[in-house]
Amino acid sequence: MFRVRHDSANTHPAKGADAPHSHSMKDHLKSRPDLLDPAELDALGGLELVARAVVTGFISGLHSSPSRGFSVEFAEHRAYRPGDDFRFVDWKKYGRSDRFFLKQYEQETNLSAQVCLDVSLSMDWRSREAGLLTKLAYAKRLAASLTLLLIRQGDLAGLICFAERVLGRTAPRGTLAHWTELVRQLAAQPAGELSAAAEALDEVAARGRRRGLVILVSDLLVDEPATQRALKKLRHQGHEVLVFHILDPGELELPGAGDAVFVDPETGDEVPARSAELRTQYREAVASALDEWRRVCGSHKIDYHPIATDQPLALCLGEYLHTRTRLG
């Protein structure tokens, strides 16, 4: 089964907190906007502000986390000062000089990441108006946050928006000015029509001479065999591939109870059905599809992460971090 839903007490501490702890939880969430509900987070402002807040909160969380030390390599030594962490003491140098020195690291700058964002019509949908972002809005916030995190780490970040064809592309660069331009492009990007993920991925494969990280953000309502074939091709070229499968909660459970004609916004395809009769079978079909994606991606060492739009962006960033750590 897929791991889309998670314990809300972990991601939304304030929701599950008892009254005596609610105040401290609120303070905690103020410093960790990446853990906020995406719809609540949207109140912060535009795409750029949201992405900055998310990434800032996420990085501050990392410093307090024991899982630190990603994408860094040794740069120089520094004399120990009271209060420094003993874990960074270079004990070999202490053995030779009988003095305490700390290792200093500097970030890598040679990773080129390309975010492929699906802006098709199926992404511009949400199952309810209140408390949910559309899949496209969520994906845009995720893309902005990821690229900011990449650039802050010293990596290069680029963006490709695709629908029935590639609608916009930004070459990977590592400056904040580039990120600002990238966010502006994201914000202005309207929804397209059909989804041709395979073409976008093929274009990345064709243009990307240098091995790097390819992040696909899509609802994967695409030509599945072609898309899977394109993903395999990227892997074959030596790229690391990370797939974020964006799902609306209303797609995980069939909405409504009565008879209705369900219409595909992209193709206009219609399926008359009674929700109450098909709910169980639909749930099984979704689970089967996600398992298939997980199996295909897993067999080619592609990181696959289904994410629902009511989950905090920190989860996605954490998954990215996990992949990035593996890359070294």
Binding site: D219, L221, F262
Partner: protein, 415 residues
């Protein structure tokens, strides 16, 4: 086979088309929902399409069947009445109430004709294995009048209303006696009657015995019609009561419920008088009309032979004034009143009714008294004479000689 009481209600079966129609148009009237993940929905539907289709068809079939069953139930199915061979061997006693009331006209037909028609319907359903017997409600003592369908039909063709009342109790007992030895068959008694009160035993179903009303031909009389109300709130207003003889309204009166309407019945000719009394519609319509049949006959012709005395003469004159009898000569009379036994032998030998009364004087001619005693087996000693003899004998009667004592009336009735 199955017959139906109300076949026209079979049209309700057309309602079975409603779920079919809804099933066909259901998918056209659904509201539309935008849903991107339609591919998963289609997969789910395709995977279970056969089961869903089967479920829908079964649901449709159940709805149609329920409606059809309701329609069949509304038609009133009669199992086992559909054909001649659809019952086991039966012993059937047909009891026809051919009393005077069967001559009543219902609609445009005689009631007896309706009986014949219904009996014919029953006979058409009989088979060669069935035992059939016809009984008369008027003549229960006559036993089985006809057997087998052909015989029953033949008898019924010649049957006419009898001049008498039915005795359904006796007739049913007779039919039951006929059915009793036929225990190996299904046994049925079909009774065709209008359930006149006079055809039931007195006191049956709590009903009082019939009231006998004399009707004399050629003389008007007053008929009292009591109006009873069986509902909870008795209307206080007076209603019109009509007396109809044949097709003519012969009398009209007004009365309230709980009272009796007095209606003047004009003089009727000699013979049967059929008619009814009716009120305007009140409550149950069936209660608003009561049929009757009277036999109007002329007053009884009576002749007085001998000196009956002033009291009897006065009584006969009163009855004559009231139209109850007509004093005639002995040759034209139906009833002789003999005072003193004159022409007694002649009267007894004839067809007249004879009433012997005490003579106006206590003295009786010798021999006449003895003849009367011989005829009746009684001691026709006049009361005054016996008393005088009792006083003359003193205590002799008390000594144990009752031979000369009579405690019976000195007159008797004979025909």
């Amino acid at each position: 086979m199955i017959g139906f009481l109300y076949p026209v209600l079979g049209l309700a079966a057309l309602a079975a088309l409603i779920p079919v129609f809804l099933h066909l148009i259901r998918r056209r009237e659904l509201h539309r929902v935008t849903f991107p993940a339609i591919r998963y929905l289609r997969r789910a539907e395709q995977r279970h399409a056969r089961r869903l289709r089967l479920r829908h068809l079964m649901l449709l079939a159940v709805r149609v069947i329920v409606i059809l069953l309701l329609a069949v139930a509304a038609m009133g199915p009669l199992a086992g009445r559909g054909g001649p061979a659809d019952h086991r061997a039966t012993a059937l006693a047909i009891l026809i109430d051919d009393s005077q009331s069967s001559a009543q006209i219902v609609g445009e037909r005689y009631l007896l004709d309706l009986y014949r028609e219904r009996v014919e319907l029953t006979l058409e359903l009989t088979t060669a294995d069935d035992e059939i017997a016809l009984f008369s409600g008027v003549r229960p003592d006559a036993g089985v009048l006809a057997r087998e369908p052909a015989g029953v039909r033949e008898y019924l063709r010649g049957l006419r209303p009898a001049a008498g009342r039915a005795d359904l109790g006796s007739a049913i007992r007779r039919a039951h006696a006929w059915l009793e030895p036929l225990g190996g068959r299904a046994r049925e008694i079909h009774i065709y009657t209008d359930l006149q009160r006079v055809s039931l035993p007195p006191g049956a179903a709590g009903a009082p015995g019939p009231e006998v009303v004399p009707l004399t031909a050629g003389r008007p009389m007053t008929v009292s019609v009591p109006l009873r109300w069986f509902g909870e709130e008795r209307p206080a207003d007076r209603i019109v009561v009509r007396l109809v003889v044949g097709d003519d309204v012969v009398a009209v009166a007004e009365a309230a419920f709980g009272e009796s309407a007095l209606l003047s019945l004009p003089a009727q000719d000699h013979g049967w008088v059929q008619g009814y009394v009716e009120i305007d519609q009140h409550g149950l319509v069936a209660d608003d009309r009561r049929h009757f049949t009277w036999y109007a006959r002329p007053p009884t012709r009576v002749a007085v032979l001998g000196d009956a005395g002033p009291f009897l003469d006065h009584a006969l004159e009163t009855l004559q004034r009231g139209g109850r009898l007509q004093l005639e000569s002995p040759d034209a009379a139906e009833v002789w009143i003999l005072a003193g036994g004159e022409r007694l032998e002649e009267g007894l030998a004839g067809e007249v009714s004879v009433i012997v009364v005490p003579p106006a004087t206590p003295e009786q001619p010798a021999g006449t008294r003895a003849d009367t005693v011989a005829l009746r087996g009684r001691r026709p000693e006049p009361r005054g004479q016996a008393n005088r003899r009792r006083r003359a004998a003193g205590g002799a009667e008390r000594s144990g000689d009752p031979a000369g004592v009579s405690t019976r009336p000195p007159w008797s009735l004979g025909q």
